[in-house]
Amino acid sequence: MNIVVCIKQVPDTTEIKIDPVKNTLIRTGVPSIMNPFDKNALEQALRVKEKNGGTVTVISMGPDQAKTVLREALAMGADKAYLVTDRAFGGSDTYATSYILSQVIKKIGPFDVILGGIQAIDGDTGQTASSIAEHLGLNRVSYVLDMEKKDDKVIIKRKVEEGVVVLEAKLPVLVTSLKESNKPRYRTIKGVIDALKADIPEIRFADLPGIDETKIGLKGSPTRVKATFTPKRNATGEVMEAVNPQETAKSLIGKLVEAKLL
């Protein structure tokens, strides 16, 4: 089984700050991490490889600093990493991004399984991975808890709102992983040292001769951002100091009953 995992470097959104005047991200001091769901995808890939043999390749699209997450993936056990980077790719929405990644996968493939996280914690769209599958004309299953190879197919446990669906999927297939899928392993010391020395080839626009220029970057993106703003909150609530908790509770319940909320 040859597997490729798409990973994204994201700002740690739990520590994000927004410039309230410019409505832009303050990146200074905010740590960049491997998108947590992608880490689950990588773990899934490594487990399938350990059982069935093959290779695990990781790709990431982004600036040079995204090599950090690629090295982290190598240290966890990935065999090969590529950075997809070019000014021409900047400003891509999910359509254009998924198209570029599909072209990269075509170039460095073929693969039996393409993996990614269900969504990235910065954009939170959850649609890039399955869009890659559509660009490649591939079968896809999202929200996958577990997968096991069986002959020329994979048996997949997929989460849905109502429970878990067990299904059989033909290869090649694209799947996306979620937090409950597994607990990602730690990097080993040897892995970290090897990863530091590893060569991470860059794939640029010029390396993808068949790519359709009208489908990439800002110009190739069907959606565009019209405006951004920060959520406004206006504190209008009634403050009740619970100096005497029982009195406060009584008063609150009284108010709720009066307002016919209870």
């Binding site: 649609q127 878990v164 937090k179 405006a227 403050v239 619970a242 029982q246 509770a249 307002a259």
Partner: protein, 335 residues
């Protein structure tokens, strides 16, 4: 751009084993507003094996027209089977706008269609409106964990598409007098051509009662709960109210509560009658999932906690005293 030939607002009515999901009906309410803005019709799209309940619901929730694709091969969702049926409907009828519930299947279906048509898809929208001069839908959505909101437009292609989370909007009241035109399209897929085959289905075990997104009363706990055991008193409070227990991401990450109970940007969106936040600081990513609740009560010992900025009742105090006091008071009230 001239989109004169692209007409109508479509809403996908997702069903599971013949049971339509509420999100489809919630979106018919929003779809009507967009259709009015665009001066076009509101249409529902139903795909499945058992479609009667979905058709009935779509009519009651206000669709002018209902496109139906029915067949045994649509009993289980598959992105290729459903995607193909939906695409054929689109190619034949050229809709202007498509709304899909941001469910697990809906997100997959949405990207399948959008890529195939080379059009824009905006995920997890929380507000929708129409730009009158252009006819573009303005899709509003949170990003960066709810820290930033963006308005997105898809100006050069049609259909313009978006997904919307369950519970982001409330269902409108049923209109039992509405009559919809039902259009049945004979679109078939050879079951052998579908690349996935469902072998088994394991229904979710209901831990802890009513799902958080369906409850009228939600009592949520966060980091301030300190451990899993302390959630028992939230359980008791929720039980007295006839509601259920929710959680912030911090409490899920700490392993105190299961992910299914998480409220927020990466969890569920809830809009209960009363939301009680206990020991939750109110990070934007949490607030993004509960700020539309009818009434919000926050209990926190830190008077400057951001949760108080969205609360209707701000109880400044120790939750380990206030929650038991509320339980006691409710018991007295119930007599």
């Amino acid at each position: 751009m001239n989109f004169e030939n692209c007409k109508d607002v479509w809403v996908f009515i997702e069903n599971f084993k013949g049971q339509p999901k509420d999100v489809g009906f919630e979106l018919l309410g929003q779809g009507r507003l967009l259709a009015n803005g665009l001066k076009q019709d509101l249409c529902a799209v139903v795909i499945g094996k058992d479609v009667d309940e979905s058709i009935k619901g779509a009519e009651e929730y206000g669709a002018d027209k209902i496109y139906v694709v029915q067949g045994d091969e649509y009993e289980d969702y598959s992105s290729d089977g459903y995607g193909n049926a939906f695409l054929e409907l689109i190619n034949k009828n050229s809709p202007n706008t498509i709304l899909i519930g941001a469910t697990i299947r809906g997100r997959e279906l949405g990207s399948t269609i959008a890529v195939s048509l080379r059009t824009g898809l905006t995920a997890d929208c929380t507000a929708l409106s129409v730009e009158e001069e252009t006819g573009n839908v303005v899709w509003e959505r949170p990003a960066f964990g709810g820290n930033l909101y963006a308005q997105i437009i898809c100006g050069d292609t049609r259909p313009q598409m978006g997904t919307v989370r369950p519970n982001a909007f409330k269902k409108k009241d049923k209109d039992l007098t509405n009559k919809a035109e039902v259009v049945r399209e004979n679109i078939r897929v050879n079951p052998a051509a579908i690349a996935t085959k469902v072998l088994d289905f394991l229904a979710a075990k209901e831990e802890g009662g009513i799902p958080v997104e369906q409850a009228e009363f939600v009592v949520s706990g966060g980091r301030g709960m300190k451990n899993a055991e302390n959630f028992a008193m939230l359980q008791e409070l929720a039980h007295l109210l006839g509601g259920t227990v929710g959680s912030s991401r911090a409490a899920v990450d700490a392993g105190w509560m299961p992910q299914a109970r998480q409220v927020g940007q990466t969890g569920k969106t809830v809009t209960p009658r009363i939301y009680i936040a206990c020991g939750i600081s109110g990070a934007v990513q949490h607030v993004a999932g509960m700020s539309e609740s009818d009434t919000i009560i926050a209990i926190n010992k830190d008077a400057s906690a951001p949760i108080f900025e969205v609360a209707d009742y701000c109880i400044v105090g120790d939750l380990f005293q206030v929650v038991p006091a509320l339980i006691k008071e409710l018991k007295v009230n119930k007599g």
